[in-house]
Symmetry: C2
Subunit: 341 residues, 2 copies
DNA sequence: ATGAAAGCGCTAACAC
DNA sequence: GTGTTAGCGCTTTCAT
């Protein structure tokens, strides 16, 4: 792999051609102050003439920074990769970094071997910080990174007392709002389709559902709650089918994610039933799979764009030798009402 | 960003603790031969004790390699990011690299600024090679990388005489096979929905359609061909609607991609028509959106897994100081017949 | 404002 | 087999 092309010019050659010292060239390429304008131009001319590109390995070694951050997806079953949820976040993070010299690196960590390799990569100083998505409760990666002293920001948290910096949506509050909205609309029997309850996000959303019912003085009936094995459409379909069998008279359904809701709707479509009359969901910005003649859909929007931007902001702050050990940010969700299609 | 934690041990400290020279430690961490077993163990003990992790910047600088490759998506309109096509390729590439020390880095290049930043990243020696996906005809990135002497492998090609190493599916052959299959099934009036014809892949698939008709002695009627603006469902819908208006008596449709086909089917669904009686498509492995009571779907499968693996193989070969300037590989497609659902 | 010099932590070539 | 040494190309004091 002797990759270094033979003709690659170095900073020293640039200095020689421009007739200045190496320090000066370094200042120019780093836009540092304290260089006479004429000198700067001379150096820039030499750079252009030679087609000089800084050697990033050398810069890292001397400067103790990589000018790169990793966005890690730890999704063993990562069909989720293609979900709008991820796409939105990646987009937002990319946008937030667009005006910086920081290169965004997406990496997939599926197996333990890949986890190991990534940790060595990160600890080896190839990135200045790490953004983590879709971390499961038992994933050791966040702690490995934190222990290594790497600035790390998670999307969501693994439990109620997360020790790593994170940005999360107000999942409990959002769910509460959605269910309260259904109650206000006069619905009496509201079922819930939750995500896998070993994930904290699913627990929070279920808690919100319960709290809304309790606040309204309603009983919480366990048989109205079905847990999905994961956040996929298939789980939503199965859960909805189960609910219909258990309670033919359901008024409304609260689904803990857009994908679950999509599955639930497709199950309803298959049966041709007209109840439930309402479906509410916590989802992303552009979710509207409901078709004409289907129940109206209320969406509690997670502010994915803001989540992504906030993650980047926190990460950059942590990279600035910040004295803060960690910080937690919870962003408000937004109830979006839609006309019945 | 002074990231280097103060307590990070260096190779030299490991050597001191183990009571050996730095060269020996280097040999051990690189699994090089020529180290006595007892020495190796002593070094490994010291490594464990200190929690030593090699500084990759220093390794890159001295060793002229990054042990990383980038997989670049140059998709300005990258909703495509979530498409199964991409997911499959990323998966295959990740698998192919799983047993190597090479870290896979996904990067998005949407704007010129991002393109510039990535080129500097790559030329700066942070990756040993680059895999390119979904490159448009006028994209300068492949040439920039090739000119910089970076091993580069493209998925697909920009034109008939591509100068950069690539792996492609036999698009013309696949399309020919699909249309020939429709002809053999007795279809007389076969329409085509193509991709945007400024992309070579779309041209090839259209050529395959034409060749199949010509081989069968049929006339190629321009009015039976509709060009999609892109490879999205929306384009497929529009094209199908247009075709229905032009030729109510269409027998069958050949769609140049799975997404276009999905759009076409949804347009048919909306009209409730029962013709065309057949739809054939070039697509990925798991495409089957046809519903009961819809035309049977013939899929020409692109071997995405093999494409990804082959790309990695070629890239690794190019990284071995290979004397070959470039190489081109075209993989066979496979006709998949499905029962009418 | 600018040049000179001292590393950054590692690999690889060479000596023993 | 193993220690020694000379860089890799840059940033960053420290002089000037």
């Amino acid at each position: 792999m002797g990759r270094r092309s033979p003709g690659t010019p170095t900073l020293e050659e640039v200095a020689a051609l421009a007739g200045v010292g190496r320090g000066t060239v370094s200042r120019v390429i780093n836009n540092a102050a304290g260089v006479r304008d004429s000198t700067r131009r001379a150096v820039q001319r030499a750079i252009a003439e030679l087609g000089y590109v800084p050697n990033l390995a050398a810069r890292s070694l001397a400067g103790h920074r990589a000018d790169a951050v990793a966005l890690v997806m730890t999704e063993p079953d990562w069909r989720l990769f293609g979900e709008p949820f991820f796409t939105e976040i990646v987009h937002a993070v990319g946008d937030a970094l667009t005006d910086t010299p920081v290169q965004l690196l997406l990496t997939l960590v599926r197996t333990d071997a890949e986890r190991q390799r990534f940790v060595e990569y990160a600890r080896g100083g190839r990135v200045d910080g790490v953004l983590l998505m879709s971390v499961h409760a038992e994933d050791p990666l966040p702690d490995m990174l934190a222990k290594a002293g790497l600035p790390t920001v998670m999307l969501g948290r693994r439990s109620g007392d997360e020790s790593v910096t994170y940005v999360d949506a107000d999942n409990a509050g959002g769910a509460r709002g959605a269910v309260t909205h259904l109650l206000n609309g006069g619905r009496g029997t509201i079922a819930a389709i939750t995500g896998p309850l070993d994930m904290y996000v699913a627990q929070c959303r279920l808690r919100g559902y319960r709290e809304a019912l309790e606040q309204a003085g309603r009983a919480v009936r366990d048989s109205l709650v079905v847990e999905g094995d994961d956040f996929t459409e298939e789980s939503g379909r199965r859960a909805m089918t189960e609910l219909i069998a258990r309670h033919p008279g359901i008024d409304a359904v609260f689904a803990a994610s857009d994908t679950l809701a999509a599955g639930a709707l497709s199950a309803l479509r298959a049966t041709g039933r007209r109840v439930p009359q309402d479906v509410a969901v916590i989802g992303f910005d552009d979710f509207h799979p409901a078709r004409p003649a289907e129940p109206p859909l209320t969406t509690v929007r997670q502010p994915l764009g803001e989540i992504g931007r906030t993650m980047v902001r926190l990460l950059l702050e942590e990279m600035e030798d910040s004295p803060v050990a960690w910080r937690h940010v919870i962003l408000r969700t937004e109830l979006v009402l839609r006309e019945s299609a």
